[in-house]
Structures are given as C-alpha cells and as structure tokens.
Symmetry: C2
C-alpha cells in the first residue's frame, strides 16, 4: 500500500510499504477513506533529524473496517469508523476515568511500531476501545466534520472542558489554527458568551467569528495582552485556552488570565521549564491544566450535533489533496497557505 | 506599644513603636489577644537583607476591637474578632468570587504601611470585609483553634478545595508543618479516605495521623516517590497538596501525582521557573492549582466545627510564648524544636 513517511525536516514522501495485518486478536485493519495533516505533524517537519528508513506519519483518519481480530466485539467488517488519535483499551482504570491518553494498554498512532493514518490502510490496536462506528455512508458530505472527532475537535473540546467553561466564563483562545478554532466552537458549546480569539490570519479569525468568537485580537505579546485587558475591564478572562504550544503563547496566557482563572493548554508544549511561581501562576491563584486530549471520551457527546448539521467543524479543512500529494499538504500548512489539509482516498 | 520587628536574617526584636490609630473610616483598631509565628515568616528570617529601620512581622491574630472608623458597620468596639491574613473589602468582584487575596482594595498585613500581627495592637483596614466576630470569651480555651482561621487552617483547606477532593480522591500531603497538617485535616473534612502524609518529623506525623492521615512516608525525593507509588498500585494519588514551597517539594509532587490528577500548592514557591511541559504536567494531563489562600472565604464554613469541638486545629501550637519572647519563637520554629509558636498577651 501507499503511505506518507517523513525522512527528515521538510522531507515527506509517499512511499510503498507492506499492507498492515492483524497482529493481536484485539486489532482491526481499517481501509482509510479520509485522513489529514495535523499542526503537531509540523513539529517534526521543522526539526526532525534525517532518518534513512523514515517514520510513518498521521494520527487522524476514518475508514472502513476490512478485518478484525478474534477478540474484537463492538465493531465489524464493513463498518465506517473513526479512530481516536490515542488508541486505548477502553477498560482500564484510566479509560474508565475518561483519560484514554493514559490507558495502561494504549499508545499513539505513527509510533511504537503502529503505523500512521496518512496511508491507505492501518492496523488499529485495541479496536474495541479506539474505534467508533459512524452511522453515515462512505460518501457522506459529513466526513470532514466527522474526521475532526479523531483529534482537533476533541482537542479543542478538552481545552474547554478542562477549563470548566460555563455561561458565566469569559474566554480567551490563543491561536487561530484548527485546534484554536475548535476551542472557540467548544467554548461556545459550553455556553460561553464572551470569546476573544487571539490570531492574526484574517481568513482564520473570520472563521473563528463564524464558529463563535465575539472579539478578535490580532496583536501578539505585550500589545496583544494590553488589548485583551482593555476588552475585559483590566482583569483578563476567566479562562484561557492555549492552542499553540510555543512558550510565547504560554507567556501570553499568563498575561491575559484573570486572577483565580484557568489556563488550559492543548498545544503540545515545545518547552519544558516556564514560570509558575508567585509572579506568574501562584500569586493570582491561577490554575494550569490541559494535556493530550482523550478525544475518545468526547466522541459520543460531540457526534450528534455533527450528524444533525448543527455544527460544522469540518470548516477547518481548506485544502483537499490525494495521498500522493501529502508533501504538498505539509508544505501548504507550514507556509500557512492551508489551515488544514484533508487527504481524500 | 510593643511589636516584633525583623532587622535582618535571624534578627527579630521586640521593640516599642507608636500605637496604631484610625486612618481611614473603614479601619478598626484591634487589641491583640493571641498571635503566632508563621512558617512563611521564616523565609525572611533566612534571607532578609539588613534594614536599620526593621519591618513589622506577623499576619495571624485575633483580639478585641478597641476603636472603629465611621464607615465600619459589621463589627463594633468590644467584639472579639479574628482577621483573615489578607485584608479585603468583601464587596469587589474578586471578593464576591471568594478570592479575597486578589481584592481590588485589599492587601496584606505587615506590608505596605500596615502593621504586623505580632504586636499588642494593629490597625485593620477594610474591617467589615476582613474581621469575623468570634462568639466566645476572651479567655476561651478555643482561642488557639480559632486563631488557625487567620491562616493555616484556611490555607490547608484552600489546598484541599482547589484540588476538589471528595471521598473518591486519594491524597498525598507534602510537608508536615502546620499548613501540611491542616491540609490533612481539610482533606479528611472533604471526605478523603486515603491520605498519605510525607514528612519526617515523627511528632508531627503522629499529629498528622491524629488529624486524619492514613499513611506516613518519611522518605524524600526519589525514595519517597517510590514509596508513595508502591502504596498506590504504581500510579500515585489523585491529588497532591504541596505545603512546603521549595522546588524539591514540587518535584516530589510531580512524582507522586496520578495521571489526570491535581497538584495544589499553598506553600509559597521559593522558585519561579519549573517543569510544566510534556515530561512533567502536560503528558499526564496533570492540573496545577493553588495560591495564597482567601481564608476569609472559608471562615464561616470552618468555624462551627471548632466551636462544637469536633475539630481541634489548635493542636498545631506546641509552644506558647510572650511577645517579649518573639525571637525565641522564631528560633524554635527555625530549628524545628517548635511546630508553631503561639504568642499570648
């Protein structure tokens, strides 16, 4: 089959690799119908060391089950399914707590010997805990929105849930990428009436307004912080959803969070140490939360409004490519010509 | 009047200073009946630069109102009152949210021109928002327990509340000082059934057991972390109440917190930067919370069980001194001969 592999910074190729096969009785083989490129795929695209053998890429996909192992009980051949980006057994103590990203028998796609989702097919470990059947046809127009359940919608929703957003909560979303825009949609879903989106790409912030943002702040750093404070009576917002992952975004979050408020991070931090003492988090009683989103925990909740057409998170896809054009998708996203690239098979 | 002042590291003296007077119509003057030395008073005791004029000390006191300004309405001359360590108007948006430590018109005792509580009398700004009447006599045996409402009991309770402890929550408390022990009592109050106290002073951890700790881990660092993991099936506890403030205590908290859990800090951080990236907080979806406790918000809730004798937080006082002996109190606490020194007038 064909699959996208990365061989070093800026070097993505569509290559031919062996077809995946059932290895464990809990596995399923999925023929992929839609996949996409994630903002987090751009991190290795920027700094990966050269690797002659390459690494598989992609962790967002939906497709049709072609084969299942002997222990798989909740999905069957022919089902159209979406996978959470972290595969998980669904039965361990962490899964039962809704923290599938810490599953005792789980892991991540495109890592640890499991293939990537930017491929014609994939082996899905722990199929019962990982896959959710989608009650639509393989050619449904809803597929792009349904694909966001694999990561970006659930990740934005995780940010909002962890921040405990309600109608009384003012919100700043930092970042106008796909996850930031999904955080806007999620904050609105949880009832927030004031959602300030910090981003400087007009096409994206315009989409943010369509998804629920009430204000847009294009400035960054101290200037952006001053603008948000000005919009909030000098105190900042109750919650800040940080959907970037760079240190500058964290510093911005510290600047716009209200005393007693919450910074909820879902952008994968590209730093380890940062200020958390009296002058940053502690003195203002600010809570810091977030992490890799257990999107599996949210699919059941988010699915109905996509099926009914009430929400359309698939709007984040503004480029459609074939698997052979995977390199173009990375290039377009990296240069910000594309917000998010959908791969159609 | 007499008051304890600090003139440099290790240099506390009881000196004579002018009596406090009403300066604002919202002020009250309180004749102090009981005060005490706080673990946080030991930080300047370790590292304060020499200051010829000295600085007033102490932020925990109860006493009798001797005078009030013209706008004071909820307390009157002759009332026995306890003060929250952060004075606050009780009416601003942050006070109404229960975050009196961020009061728009508030501040801290022994700072910014307001005197300290280790003194015969004190001017209390924003008396209506800061003072709570105690329905006992000036010679009540309950005074030591009531005095803990000024800081340490409310601070331990803040740690537990911010961690959202319930009966289903396992707890590690780091630190066997007065605040750590009050965190144990508070965790038990909120229903926790498993409370692991990390501390190595047997007299204190014995008191911790009396207050609700179910396990004691005397080891520190990696050895202590391994012990807690061993006690919790390898995963750590849902919540960690960090009542020390040193970086080593934060690192210990990272080591014993369960994925998806909460680290709640009330020890004033003696560091600013620390790990919060993928390898520490983020990857495990750990929430970091806490800060200076808005103890005023908790007094109404905590008072009845002290009055009824159900709880006895005053057990943290194991030394009683006079104001003239203030230096001895600091010395005893610094050398860990005393857990907490009560000043009796």
């Amino acid at each position: 089959m064909k699959a996208a592999f990365m061989y070093g910074a800026g070097d993505v190729r569509t290559v031919t690799v062996p077809d995946p096969t059932i290895q464990e009785p809990t596995d399923a083989i999925v023929r992929i119908v839609r996949a996409c490129v994630c903002g987090s795929d751009l991190h290795p695209y920027h700094d990966m060391d050269d690797a002659a053998e390459g690494v598989p890429m992609g962790h967002e996909f939906l497709g049709v089950i072609e084969d299942i192992g002997g222990d798989v009980a909740t999905v069957k051949k022919g089902d159209l399914v979406v996978a959470a980006f972290a595969w998980a057994d669904g039965t361990c103590e962490f899964c039962l707590d809704g923290l599938q990203t810490s599953c005792l028998h789980g892991g991540f796609f495109a890592a640890g010997g499991v293939g990537g989702g930017q491929a014609e097919a994939i082996r899905v470990p722990q199929a019962d805990g990982t896959l959710v059947v989608l009650p639509v046809a393989e050619d449904s127009e809803l597929l792009p929105s349904l694909l966001t359940l694999a990561d970006v919608y659930g990740t934005g929703f995780h940010a909002a849930k962890q921040a405990r957003i309600t109608a009384d909560t003012t919100v700043t979303v930092i970042g106008d990428g796909a996850v930031g825009l999904m955080a806007v949609l999620s904050a609105k879903r949880l009832g927030a009436e004031r959602i300030i989106l910090m981003g400087r790409h007009t096409a994206r912030t315009d989409l943010g307004i369509r998804l629920g943002a009430t204000d847009v702040v294009a400035e960054r750093g101290d200037e952006g912080i001053a603008k948000v404070l000005e919009l909030t009576g000098g105190h900042g917002t109750h919650t800040v959803l940080e959907a970037v992952g760079y240190r500058a975004a964290y510093d911005q979050a510290l600047g716009v969070v209200r005393p007693g408020g919450v910074i909820s991070r879902v952008g994968v931090p590209q730093y380890e140490d940062a200020p958390i003492g009296f002058g940053s988090l502690f003195g203002k009683n600010v809570t810091l939360t977030g992490g890799p989103a257990p999107v599996r925990a949210y699919i059941d909740e988010l699915l109905p409004d996509i099926l009914s057409g009430k929400v359309n998170p698939g709007l984040v896809f503004d480029q459609t490519i074939s698997l052979d054009e995977a390199a173009d998708g990375y290039k377009a996203m990296d240069s910000r010509q594309a917000l998010k690239s959908l791969i159609r098979f």
